[in-house]
């Protein structure tokens, strides 16, 4: 009950903030919620299952291009296009899971990185459709659901909140059911989990598919809400970002990905106004956090004060 209350409380707070925040911070929070959804997806694989992916941008990109290409070239409406984005990400993550899960540890990281690079180069190669690195704009007039204009800042905020809510509550629920417990068991001791009779491979497989699909939902939502589709979202930095956000916020905590994304966004936003060497400062902050708060912000809070935090 406490857990449900905490999550609903956070979502209620975000809903209220949407009404009272100044325009600039409202816009920022819309982006942060979409990107945090990406981090929530990443956390399913990394935080709960212990699978470190260096190629998650391909899933974000699958959702983004699935939706974007369907709307741009297929004339598909926003809702079915979002469905195509989800299916694209789910199918890609299933294929990657089948191939990459044949490896473990460092090899798994490298295989995911290579798949992601292949996805990035594919986005460039099919430039006739994707406009490659330049990308393309989804026109304001097609970014609608019925009469609802998704480019309106308020509508966009609540659409982002809806997306984030679904992802957050889904992962919260996951931590409460057997499937989630087995994922944690896989993370902690794969051999023992296998000995207890669980299929480690199938749990890993579904973790990758769920993680990839949530990440794809974030990619599709980014394109739909902000009107841009481009290959830079499939590049290596966009595979590293969710890792940083999750590490910062607390891997294996449900709220950590949101906290990490929020912290990093405002850290960069604030520091870039003070110095051009802001990435250096961000790097130092990350190193300090890694040294002194190894479990991340929410992880440390769980360790020190709130042990029931999922």
């Amino acid at each position: 009950m406490k857990v449900l209350g905490l999550h609903l409380g956070l979502l209620a707070l975000l809903a209220v903030l949407g009404m009272i925040l100044p325009a600039y911070h409202q816009g920022n929070l819309s982006r942060i919620m979409v990107l945090a959804t990406y981090a929530v997806g990443y956390n399913v694989m990394f935080g709960y299952t212990g699978l470190l992916s260096l190629g998650h941008a391909m899933f974000f990109g699958a959702g983004m291009y699935g939706l974007g290409l369907a709307m741009q070239h297929g004339g598909v409406g926003a809702v079915p296009a979002f469905g195509i984005g989800l299916v694209s990400a789910a199918v890609l993550s299933a294929v990657v899971a089948v191939l990459a899960l044949r490896t473990i540890g460092v090899a798994f990281m490298i295989v995911t990185l290579m798949f992601s690079q292949a996805a990035f180069l594919s986005a460039l190669y099919f430039g006739e459709w994707t406009r490659g690195d330049e990308g393309f704009v989804l026109a304001q007039q097609i970014r609608r659901v019925g009469e609802v204009d998704l480019s309106n800042p308020v509508t966009r905020y609540y659409a982002a909140l809806l997306l984030f809510s679904v992802a957050l509550l889904l992962t919260m629920r996951m931590t409460q059911v057997r499937f989630g417990h087995v994922l944690v068991a896989v993370r902690e001791n794969e051999e023992r989990t296998r000995m207890l009779g669980y299929s480690v491979w199938s749990h890993k497989f579904w973790a990758v598919v769920i993680s990839g699909t949530i990440s794809g939902a974030a990619g599709a939502a980014y394109a739909l809400l902000f009107g841009y589709v481009g290959a830079s979202f499939v590049s290596v930095p966009y595979s590293i970002f969710p890792l940083l956000w999750v590490l910062l916020g607390g891997a294996g905590t449900t709220i950590g990905p949101f906290v990490g994304t929020l912290f990093m966004f405002y850290l960069i936003d604030y520091l870039s106004g003070l110095t051009t060497a802001y990435m250096l400062v961000v790097g130092i902050v990350l190193v300090l956090l890694t040294l002194f708060a190894r479990a991340g912000l929410m992880g440390e809070i769980r360790k020190r004060w709130v042990p029931w935090l999922p």
């Binding site: 600039y24 180069l121 460039l124 430039g127 490659g132 690195d133 902000f226 290959a231 051009t276």
Partner: protein, 426 residues
Amino acid sequence: MSKLIQPNRRTVLKGAAAGGLLAATPLAGRFAQAQSSAPIRIGFQQHITGVGAAYGRWYGRTTEAAVKAINDAGGINGRPLEIIAEDDGTDARRGAEVVEKFVNQHDCDVAFGTLFSHVVIGSAPAAGELKMPYFVVSEGHHVASGMLNRYTLQPGITDVKSQVQAMAPFISENLGKKVTMIFPDFAFGHDHRDYFTSAIETAGGEVLEHIAIPPTETSFTRYFPAIPRDTEVIYHVMVGPAVLTFVKELGEFFGPSAPPMFGFIDSLEAVDLNSPGLEFLEGSYFWEGNPRYAQADQSPYDANFRAAVGVDENGASVSDPSDVSTYAHMFGCWETLYIIKDAMEASGYQGPGDRAALVEAVEAMTDMPHSNEHPQGPKIFNGRTHQAFGVQYITQVQDGRLNLVHETSIEDTFYPDEVDYTTQSL
């Protein structure tokens, strides 16, 4: 020669400081006549970090120089200009966030200054939705293609389609009709592939082979055997750090018997032409948006621009000869700021409520004569497509410097309109 402008993080003249300084100068009388003496705030979306940092540095210096020149001459409608620079990290997502920041946080009047196409395209939706005039200095064809929106304009620099198209007649008549193109296999290279291939056919030539180099490639020799033996001209537009290797390996492949070569200076912006490995470029031809080296018949406008920004006759910083400028592009910042000035004065711009009128005032512009305000050359602005058209320069590497051999007409750069933004609502 003046001292190099060294831009600060945020501005030349901060609002309060500007007011104080101006009150103590002879300009005070001119500024005082305005209805409001508050600075006009220009949001400068700058590539301070990321792959575009070299361009960002020089775009910054040019912008600071133009702002100083405009403010010294009385500002805009009697109000001084203030630059609010934000780093977009040369990233499309951050670019859009920065545009929102200009509108909702910094209360800027306009946004300006973006070069890299993916940042422009990523940011333009935010500008359109927030109805923020967004003046890009990108040379991409994205504006004139109709992909963007009524609030995005490119009046201070020509676009790649017109540039490429204007090169074809010169190449066909002077260098050869059978061309092999070598280009990076992403959007920038694809633009060249598509526009040049059709333009050279119109000019009576043909492209024998398209050689697309994957963007992750670091060695190029294995691609060169694909160059057909009867190639008369090599057209190359490799960009990025690999360009030095590319040129060196091309030189080793051909030795002294290379066909004439034509390239776009984008490959070598901010790169010293006399860098080791580039010797093979001697005798080859380049498109330049604005000749890097001061020419024998240099216009007084170029001399004024060069001195104001702090660029020597070789196109490098006056305070550091190894700090080579991005001379073929950065004039666009200078010219764009003067266009913003002209449009604000023409529309009687007072504040953000007049943004729509400002866009209409730019759309109404046509001729931009060669002048101190337009030092690159004369231009014609097309208000329907939001794109400027202007003369292009072809230079040849002679004794390690780029000397002008041809100047196109503006008409060479025209192509049929692909959009009419004036039909979109404001």
